[in-house]
């Protein structure tokens, strides 16, 4: 709690020290961010292609590596392992260095890790396009790629452990709990998934159980944990005020770790499994309302009185949007996991809406926010255009909002028609097609936002940002009320 409590008012030494620490993270973090944004652009283009082909199936349909069923997993894996994981690790590395209050040591471990990771994702996506996918959601990369990713990850995780050993001060701030959790959970998860699916495969339907256990936990324990940790740092930091309650945060963290890791089986509702597995996951999903309530309340009470800052600070605006989306994502998750509703929406586009809420509206928006905070501190320039940041925000926010609405509404109607055996099957598809076209529109908005962001980030990399002591605000600051950025 100590760290964010120390606001800009603290002494010069502390500020100087922080500037040194930030500078020491420059190369690895920028490397993570640059790769992540390159993957984001590729993944966005693939997404547009996938979305379009779903309602215009003959678009470039005769080329094997551009067939829908290959481009779709390529898109997902580029986003999950290329964009989200790399961007999340970039932010996590920077946060670790700051919160351990020590200069970044062993940068080569990170640089090598990032390089290996990029190579792994590149080969993996190529393998999927060439027809070497395993067929398990989010684990489509073939085994040889998993080995590369694991080596890359080991390098980065050993860096994290070394940093922790060199940390100064006894206090471990809330963000560090989440980050430590993420850094430890990911390799266990990945190893467990790989072992139980490919090395010593479990029998029959259990492969699906392991697959969804992995995918859901990746969403919660890896991406979710990084995003929540980041939000716990950025919100107090930007408004210059400590987290409202440390105890709420403790409850939130442990209930999150305990319950969200049990939710995977909701995706298998009514499937050929012992009912207790699915019931346990549904119960756990309902119990995730505890961390949602505590984390949400904590952020809200921290923000109380400071909401007008959302008008100015890009970081705060993105982060708060992401934190709020966490609540929406979880509530939707509870709704679509209840048996009575799940029997309608289990096999529909609604589950795609759910994944996008988690990975985009929640995780990606928080990470965008952190990038707006971190990048200026690495390159020594401020963001060039406030207007571009605004455009980025609104295009992303409207894009993901529209996409979620389209997929949820389309999914519910699709499910209602599927569950009406008086209607032919094709009726359910025809019902959802207009919504899929709407989703493609939403995708165009998001594509625009990502290109704007990539351009802006490119300017920063090239040193074309503003030289100024004042951060770039979204709107001209009317009064000197904003302490931070």
């Amino acid at each position: 709690m100590k760290e964010p409590a120390v606001s800009a008012a603290a002494g010069d030494t502390e500020q100087l020290e922080r500037a040194y620490i930030d500078a020491s993270t420059r190369v690895p973090v920028l490397m993570f961010y640059t790769s992540a944004i390159a993957w984001l652009i590729l993944g966005t283009l693939l997404a547009g292609f996938v979305s379009w082909k779903l309602h215009s199936p003959d678009l470039l349909g005769n080329i094997s590596f551009l067939t829908w069923g290959r481009v779709r997993p390529a898109h997902m894996n580029v986003m999950v392992y290329g964009w989200a994981s790399m961007a999340g690790m970039g932010t996590a590395v920077w946060l670790m260095a700051r919160l351990c209050r020590t200069m970044l040591r062993f940068p080569l471990l990170l640089v090598a890790g990032a390089a290996f990771w990029n190579v792994g994702v590149l080969i993996g996506v190529g393998a999927i396009l060439l027809g070497d996918s395993t067929g398990f959601q989010w684990l489509e990369f073939p085994r040889y790629v998993a080995v590369i990713l694991f080596i890359a990850y080991t390098l980065m995780a050993s860096w994290a452990v070394l940093m922790f050993r060199h940390r100064r001060g006894d206090q471990i701030y809330i963000t560090q709990w989440y980050l430590l959790g993420a850094f430890l959970w990911f390799p266990w998860l990945y190893a467990a998934g790989q072992l139980m699916l490919f090395v010593v495969p479990v029998q029959g339907v259990l492969q699906s159980a392991v697959g969804w256990w992995y995918a859901n936990n990746l969403l919660f324990l890896w991406f979710g944990a990084i995003a929540l940790g980041t939000a716990y740092y950025m919100i107090p930091k930007v408004i210059g005020r400590p987290v409202y309650s440390y105890h709420l945060a403790t409850i939130g963290f442990w209930s999150y770790a305990l319950f969200s890791s049990w939710t995977g089986m909701t995706r298998l509702v009514d499937g050929p499994f012992p009912a207790w597995m699915i019931t346990a996951s549904i119960a756990a999903t309902i119990l995730t309302m505890i961390p949602v309530a505590t984390v949400g309340l904590n952020h809200h009470l921290t923000m109380k009185g400071y909401f007008p800052l959302l008008r100015y600070s890009p970081t705060l605006r993105f982060t708060v949007f992401g934190a709020m989306s966490y609540t929406v994502f979880s509530v939707i998750g509870v709704l679509i996991s209840l048996r009575s509703i799940a029997s309608y929406v289990n096999f529909t586009e609604a589950s795609i809406a759910y994944s996008h809420l988690g990975l985009y509206a929640f995780f990606t928006m928080v990470i965008f926010g952190s990038m707006y905070y971190i990048v200026p501190r690495l390159v020594g320039r401020e963001w060039r255009y406030g207007s571009l940041i605004k455009l980025h925000f609104w295009a992303s926010a409207y894009g993901i909002g529209l996409m979620t609405l389209m997929l949820l509404a389309g999914g519910f109607l699709q499910g209602a028609n599927l569950e009406n055996p008086a209607l032919p099957f094709s009726e359910s598809i025809e019902t959802v097609l207009p919504y899929l076209r709407g989703r493609s529109l939403a995708g165009i908005l998001m594509t625009v936002s990502h290109f704007i962001f990539a351009y802006h980030f490119g300017l920063m990399l090239l040193g074309l940002g503003r030289t100024s002591t004042v951060p770039t605000f979204l709107n001209p600051v009317e009064a000197e009320i904003s302490g931070g950025h």
Binding site: T67, D132, W262, G271, F273, L423, F425
Partner: protein, 348 residues
């Protein structure tokens, strides 16, 4: 929070708890199932699959079929899958014990495929005896006709074997089901002029045409566009994979032309050349033939069949109806796909 140890233990503990509960205990509970056999031990289900099946599964994975097609039938009390005639009982863990990888699926942009093989017309000219379906022997077979001959009659599909046990259940998997689930091809009114499905129900394996071909248009299949092979037959799957919209104009399934080869007809037209018409047909003197991958994929689809009874998954409607039951014919006379009075699935 002070100290790393409690934090680390907690992080490890929560993870281990979830791992043990959701993957280890289920493995202990249902992870070592064996095939089930009847009292005499003659009829064993499920059976290990052929090599073509396995390769077909990889083609299925590589081309992302699983992102649109599920392979699971939910119980009648939970959902309407059975009423939709996607199966005659719910899927059980035992159905999948030889599948690797398993494609339960999470999306139904396309139909459920758990029983797609069971929906094939029973028209194989010389069904192999069930015992002959040795996986090793079939696996290597790369003969051009392999896909059509071997797959539907291979081990997992005893329903097509002649003189199968009385427990074989053609009723719910026989072609009348096709009428109710299939998308209607353009220009083909349901019911109306199309032949009664009763004709199909009575079409015993012996009396049906030996093999679908372009030379026998107007075959007595219901909902059948002239010139197309019987629905859900191997030849039909090939045409459907090659050009989905030639069968259903509104389909948004991608076409998989890259799994097929266009080649000049040398001498006689190949037996496995696709029966295409309209804009899809190759120019005179050319033919479209499936690659080995396409044949494996179709062999895989034709072997997907969960119609065999299992002790743990009750058949909906209790005792299976006899094959030649007049019920399907009567029901088939009602127009439209309304499944209201399905004999096999009493309304909940």
């Amino acid at each position: 929070m002070k100290g790393l140890t409690p934090l680390f233990l907690g992080i490890f503990g929560t993870f281990a708890f979830s791992w043990i509960a959701l993957t280890v205990i289920p493995t202990w509970q249902i992870g070592h199932l064996n095939p089930e056999s009847d009292e005499e031990g003659t009829e064993i289900y499920p059976r290990p699959q052929s090599g073509m099946f396995e390769r077909g599964g990889h083609v299925y994975a590589a081309n992302g079929c699983v992102y649109c097609h599920s392979q699971q039938v939910r119980a009648d009390y939970a959902a309407d899958d059975i009423e939709r005639k996607w199966g005659n009982r719910r899927s059980a863990p035992r159905d999948y014990i030889f599948d690797r990888p398993v494609f339960l699926g999470k999306m139904r942009m396309g139909q459920d495929l758990a029983n797609i093989g069971a929906r094939a017309p029973a028209e194989e000219e010389s069904p192999a005896p069930a015992g002959a379906a040795s996986p090793a022997a079939q696996g290597a077979a790369a003969s051009p006709a392999g896909a059509q001959k071997a797959s539907p009659s291979s081990g997992s599909s005893p329903a097509t074997a002649p003189g199968g046990s009385p427990r074989t259940l053609p009723a719910a998997t026989s072609p009348p089901a096709v009428l109710q689930t299939s998308p209607v091809p353009p220009g083909q009114p349901i019911g109306g002029a199309s032949p009664s499905p009763g004709q199909m129900a009575s079409a015993t394996p012996g009396s049906s045409p030996p093999a679908p071909s372009a030379q026998t248009p107007g075959a007595p299949w219901p909902i059948q566009t002239a010139g197309l092979p019987p629905m859900y037959s191997a030849a039909w799957h090939h045409v459907h994979l090659y050009s989905p919209r030639s069968i259903n104009l509104d389909s948004n399934m991608p076409s998989y032309r890259f799994l097929y080869e266009k080649r000049r007809i040398a001498g006689e037209r190949s037996a496995d050349a696709l029966q295409l018409s309209g804009p899809d047909a190759p120019p005179e003197g050319w033919e479209i033939v499936p690659t080995y991958d396409a044949k494996c994929l179709v062999a895989y689809l034709m072997a997907l069949n969960q119609s065999h009874p299992l002790k743990e998954a009750r058949l909906v409607g209790g005792a299976p109806a006899p094959a030649a039951s007049p019920a399907p014919a009567v029901q088939g006379a009602s127009p439209g796909p309304a499944a209201a009075g399905s004999p096999a699935a009493p309304k909940k």
